[in-house]
Symmetry: C2
Subunit: 441 residues, 2 copies
């Protein structure tokens, strides 16, 4: 046991950055994670804290933190940034949460409780309250002394200092570079720049990400309705948000719940996916009922069943392409899009052109099949028309549905491909079997 | 004309940030964009430069830049960061490119040419060469003077200074905060920290994004094979990369080319999507040929054609869910995943469970349909088995295909849903029609 501890220590000596330790911890079982953290907590609590903060939320770093004793918890949490501490403690069971907060200095516990009060996915839920702040009436030299004092030991300081008045109302920002570059007797008042952008604590994190990405900020101030500075959201949290939202958008697109954890267990996956599959079952029944309407036609021309998956599948694919392009277009435009109906027109045109091209090829194949089997060659005309029209419908639906949803103030990403493909399935079957009933019987 | 110019000037006075002007320019026609830039270039070239840099690449800011005269170009490009200038000039037609480079000071044109030599999607293609660099033998006080001198007018300086030796080999980094906080006589040697991570100029931008996101860096140094400092990639470029890669991943997923611009025209969209649709047509023919094998069964039990879209669609949906979760899991793990085969096992289990649940419901519906139409009620058993097995196959394929691709060193995101749904279509038809042939005929 003593030998293995020595080996573990030697091993940990080789690790310099919390992210690398986080990767390692994620490979270990829960009890081994706790053993590593217990070893580290007294000697290098900063490394332990950084590793916990960098672990994937799916890996539940809060469980490892909660398994430490009060002294170890106090040492590690003191090295966590306040927003990471609030996130982690917020994920704990109420009993663990109280025990951990009790282990912290009174002031810190209060600050963390304040942050925990905000919605996790809002600016308040991801902001840090550890900022360097100045008053306008200081000189550059005094300001640098103040930065020196406040920034000491702060783990997220990117050279941006916030200037506030006596009521803590945000006046603007000044960079450490400008303070250093200025004549030492210059007043901060002359150096302060208007804030480029601010957000409210209740602003959704996705919107925070958009603003930070638009203005290239390392930190964006969070203010209350009266303009008082509450905290700041740093670029590293924004990168995490953009990554998480990108997973969420793909998941919505294919009808996977945003709650599903990529490393989650199978029971959770069943629970979260089954409702969507039942919705899909209902939509599949609608497509099937269109087929049922034409059962008589199908029993007379059984080759139509061979064409069904081709027409429906191609329409669904073209519709999904149009949907993906339109959804991303809407997601990436920070302003409400200028000319959305043009998009629908464009996709209609693209669908019709692609429908004509693929329809001609499919129709040629159908012609050969009819010649080989002695079936009515008009089937080739039916296939061409059904393909052309179904891809046109697919392009239209793929662009129209998300555009309308956005107009209605609904997240266009919920226009998951299920609905577009149901629509193209139904239209495809109706076109193929309806045209066949008219032209072949 | 003079009046409209005055109004335009008054309007531009209200705009403070380049991003806002970029949004505005994107709404204008090409010639109006150029008129705005011509007005701005002499008075506020920094705003003009920032706006061009912040425009979406799809909006072709390089065309507006190329339309200016040599004096205006020189003024605007002087305010662009070198990486943005290289990107923009690299997008121009060769004649425009030469004309613009000729308008620049010799040294700047040379630096931009150097950056243009790197692949656009590599670290070299997105790095800036405008860094603040120091030698180890300076004191903190000398270093601050040096920062003051070098950082003046630099538009991307986030408080990180690079320390190099006399051969420009990177020794480490020191933050402006540490320089300010240290005793002025301290040697830089004592303050320098090992670089947390470095990348080579040929490193793919997606990998650069992963490293920056992992270690929360505002700027990551780019070094050549000998360790010489060539430049740095800043967090704002990383945010742009992560957003672009997320669009690309969704596009790959639904078989839209990564080259397609979300605001592109319809002709480009047809050109880029049609090849994928022809691939989809081939896969649809394979599914149709499975149906053709069972034409005899279908002509005897025409209700089977009604069940076909349900079995195939549900399998495709379950497979796509498994694929999305697995692809994101692989994309988000920076290390090669520890236990990938567990994932396949998990998805197999999820597919079987969901297949049983939805199969029972679909089977009940099939039973009622058989009772109503007087068909053989064994069809309900066929539907249950086909659904259970097809969703199991879907879960397996959705997890297996990207996992194998990643093992082979291929980007798992190319396992687009087309291939998984073709597989579930073929299996679904084979299961439904094959079981029906055995049990119903």
């Amino acid at each position: 046991e003593g030998g293995s501890e020595a080996r573990l220590r030697a091993f940990l000596d080789g690790i310099q950055h919390g992210s690398d330790l986080a990767d390692l911890l994620e490979q270990l079982e829960d009890e081994d994670r706790v053993r590593v953290l217990q070893l580290l907590a007294p000697d290098d609590p900063a490394l332990a804290a950084e590793a916990l903060a960098e672990m994937e939320p799916d890996e539940h770093p809060e469980d490892s933190l909660a398994a430490l004793n009060a002294v170890q918890i106090a040492a590690v949490v003191a090295e966590l940034s306040d927003d990471d501490a609030a996130d982690m403690i917020g994920e704990m069971a109420p009993a663990d949460r109280d025990r951990v907060l009790a282990a912290l200095p009174h002031q810190d516990a209060g600050d963390i409780r304040d942050l925990m009060a905000y919605d996790e996915e809002s600016a308040g839920g991801i902001m840090t309250a550890e900022l360097v702040t100045l008053r306008v009436n200081q000189t550059a030299a005094q300001a640098i002394d103040e930065v020196r004092r406040q920034a000491h030991g702060m783990d997220e300081f990117y050279g941006i200092v916030f200037v506030v008045d006596e009521r803590e109302v945000l006046q603007g920002t000044v960079s450490l570079r400008d303070l250093v570059t200025a004549d030492p007797s210059t007043s901060v008042r002359e150096l302060v720049q208007d804030p480029i952008a601010v957000v409210l604590p209740e602003t959704d994190q996705e919107e925070v990400g958009r603003v930070v990405s638009k203005y290239n900020l390392t930190i964006i101030p969070v203010v209350d309705g009266g303009g008082r500075l509450l905290g700041g959201v740093t670029f590293d949290d924004v990168i995490d948000i953009i990554e998480a939202e990108s997973t969420e958008d793909l998941f919505k697109f294919v009808s996977v719940s945003a709650e599903e954890e990529v490393r989650g267990g199978w029971v959770d996956a069943v629970r979260l996916r089954l409702p969507w599959l039942f919705i899909n079952l209902l939509t599949a029944f609608s497509a099937a009922s269109v087929v049922y309407l034409f059962e008589d036609t199908l029993s007379k021309v059984s080759l139509l069943a061979v064409c069904m998956p081709v027409i429906a599948g191609m329409g669904g694919n073209a519709g999904t392409q149009a949907l993906a392009v339109t959804v991303r277009r809407l997601a990436l435009s920070s302003e409400r899009s200028g000319t959305p109906w043009n998009v629908v027109g464009k996709e209609l045109l693209v669908g019709a052109t692609n429908g004509l091209a693929t329809g001609l090829v499919a129709s040629g194949a159908a012609f050969l099949l009819c010649m080989a089997t002695g079936a009515n060659v008009l089937l080739a005309v039916v296939v061409l028309l059904a393909m052309l029209l179904n891809l046109t419908v697919g392009g239209f639906a793929g662009a129209f549905v998300p555009t309308v949803l956005e107009r209605l103030g609904v997240d266009p990403a919920v226009a998951s491909s299920i609905f577009v493909t149901t629509f193209t399935d139904m239209c495809g079957f109706f076109l193929l079997l309806g045209l066949a009933t008219e032209l072949l019987l």
